[in-house]
Amino acid sequence: MSIIAPCLATLCSLLGDAASADPQIAYEPVIDAAPVAPPVAPPAPPAPPAPAAMERALAPLAGASALGDAGLRLGRAELFKGGKLLLTNGVATAEGSSGGGLARWATIGGRQMPGGIGASLHATAIELADYGWRSYGVLVGVGDRLELSYARADFDTRKVGALLGIGEGYAFNLDTFGAKLRLAGDLVYGAAAMPQIAIGIEHKRSRDGALVRALGAAAASGTDVTLSATKLLLGHSLLANATLRYTKANELGLLGFGAAGAGHELHFEGSLAYQLSRRAVVGAEYRSKPDNLGLGEDDWIDLFAAYALTRHLTVTAAYVDLGAIATIPGQRGGFLSAQVAF
C-alpha cells in the first residue's frame, strides 16, 4: 500500500492535469479569423529551351493527328498508337503498297508496333513529258505482320491521247488491291545478314476493259505475286531492297494484262537508299517490266528523296525515267508524294 499510493497519486495527478488543461483545438477557428492572404502562386517552372527553327515551324503539324498518340483500342489491339522509328514504314508506292516510290518493299506500312493497328493515306502525282499520273490510296497495317492496301491511279494521256486515237485527255484508270505478309526478319533489328522478308499479292483491275482488250491485252484484271527482302544496314546507313514480282501487267496494269501468247513473267525491283539523317533519305530504284503488247514498254528508274516532316507526315520527291509508254518515248519527269501515317 505504501508503494502503490504514490503511484496512484501520480496517475491521478496526470489525469487531473489532462482534465484541467485547456482543450486543444486542432483546427483554426473560422469565424473571427484574420483574413488569410491568398497563397502565393509557386514560381513558374523554367521555360523549356526554344526548339530549333524547323521544329518550331512544324509544331502545329505535330499535333495534326486528331487521334493523337493516345490509346484507342480495338479489341486487344491498340489503334494508332504508333511507335515505329521514322521512315521505317516506308513510303507509298505507285500501287499503294509501302515501299520506295516505284518498288515494293518488305516493310509493313502504318506506324503500329506488334499488337497495334495503324493506317496511312497517300496521294501521288507524276508529271511526265506527255502524260500525267495521279494516284491516291489507303493502307491498313496490322502489327509487324500484315499490310492491306488499296490505291486508285488515273493516267491522263493529255494531247497524246488524240495521237493514239483514243481521244485527247483520255484517262486510263486502275484499281489496285494489295496484301503483304511479313514472313521473317526485321528491317532494323537482328543480324545484319537477315533482312525483313515478305510475300504479297497485288490484284489489279483496269477500268478500261474494252479499250485495253482492243490494244491487245488478254485481260482487264490480273494478280501480281511478290517476294521482297529489305534491310537497313546501319553500319553503312544504307537501306537495300530486292523484290521479285511475278506479273503479266502492262504498264502496271493501266494497259491491261498479258497479250496473245504472253503470260506471267518474273521481274525485279531493286532499291538502294542512303540515310542522311533519321528524317531524310536519298536513293535510287530500278524496276524491270514486261513488254507484252510490243509497245516498247521500258524498265523504270527513279532517284528519290524522302523526308519525314513529322512522325506522321512524310513527303517524297523523285526524278523518274519511265522510258517509252504506249510507243511515246522519253517519259521523264517529276514524282511528288505525300503520306500521312498513324
Binding site: 511507335g83 522509328l85 508496333m113 545484319a192 546507313s237
Partner: protein
C-alpha cells in the same frame, strides 16, 4: 499484491515508441545499402568479361573522335539514361532499377563497342533483360533517346548509325515479348 503493483508499474512505464524507429531493423528486414564508394546497390556475383558487351568493338580512331572520345561517349550514355528516365513511354521500366549502375555499365558498354578503350564489367544482355518483358516499341523509344543524346553531342549521323549497328543485333536477347 506484489503482482498487482508490478503490473501497475509496467502500465505506467509503457511508452509510445520513439519517433523515427527503424522498423526494418526491428523486424529484421535487411535493406539494400548503396556502396559508399560507387553509390551502387550490390548485385549477385557473375563472371565479368568483355564478351558480355554483346559485340566486338570497332578499331577506328576516327569513330572514337566522332563520339568525342571516352568522355564524350560516357556523357552520351548518361544522357541517354537521363532522357529515358524522363520519357513517359519507358520511364516505368527504369524506375525499379539501379540507375547509378546502369549509367556506369551502359557507358562502359558503348565506350567498349566504339573502341574507346573501356572494359565492360556488366552482365550479358540476355540475363540483364530476362525479367523485364521488353517490347520492340520500348527498344525503339530507347533508340530515339540514344539518337537524341548523340545529336545533342554533335555526333555525325553515319557514326551514330555505326554504334546502332552494334546494338541492333542484340534486340534478339533484349526483346522478350
Amino acid at each position: 499484491m506484489l503482482l498487482a503493483t508490478a503490473a501497475a508499474a509496467l502500465m505506467l512505464l509503457q511508452q509510445a515508441p520513439a519517433e523515427g524507429t527503424d522498423w526494418d531493423a526491428e523486424f529484421g528486414i535487411e535493406a539494400k545499402v548503396r556502396d559508399p564508394l560507387t553509390g551502387e546497390f550490390p548485385v549477385a556475383p557473375y563472371q565479368q568479361s568483355n564478351a558480355n558487351a554483346g559485340a566486338l568493338p570497332y578499331a577506328s580512331p576516327a569513330l572514337v573522335a566522332a563520339f568525342g572520345g571516352r568522355e564524350g561517349i560516357l556523357r552520351i550514355a548518361a544522357r541517354t539514361v537521363e532522357l529515358s528516365e524522363a520519357d513517359p513511354r519507358i520511364a516505368a521500366i527504369f524506375a525499379s532499377h539501379d540507375m547509378v549502375r546502369l549509367k556506369r555499365t551502359l557507358g562502359e558498354q558503348l565506350c567498349y563497342l566504339i573502341g574507346a578503350g573501356c572494359d565492360y564489367t556488366g552482365r550479358d544482355m540476355r540475363s540483364v533483360h530476362a525479367d523485364m518483358g521488353l517490347t520492340k516499341a520500348d527498344l525503339n523509344a530507347l533508340v530515339e533517346n540514344l539518337q537524341a543524346a548523340m545529336r545533342e553531342a554533335g555526333v555525325p549521323f553515319a557514326a551514330q548509325n555505326r554504334l546502332l549497328a552494334k546494338l541492333a543485333p542484340m534486340a534478339r536477347e533484349v526483346v522478350t515479348r
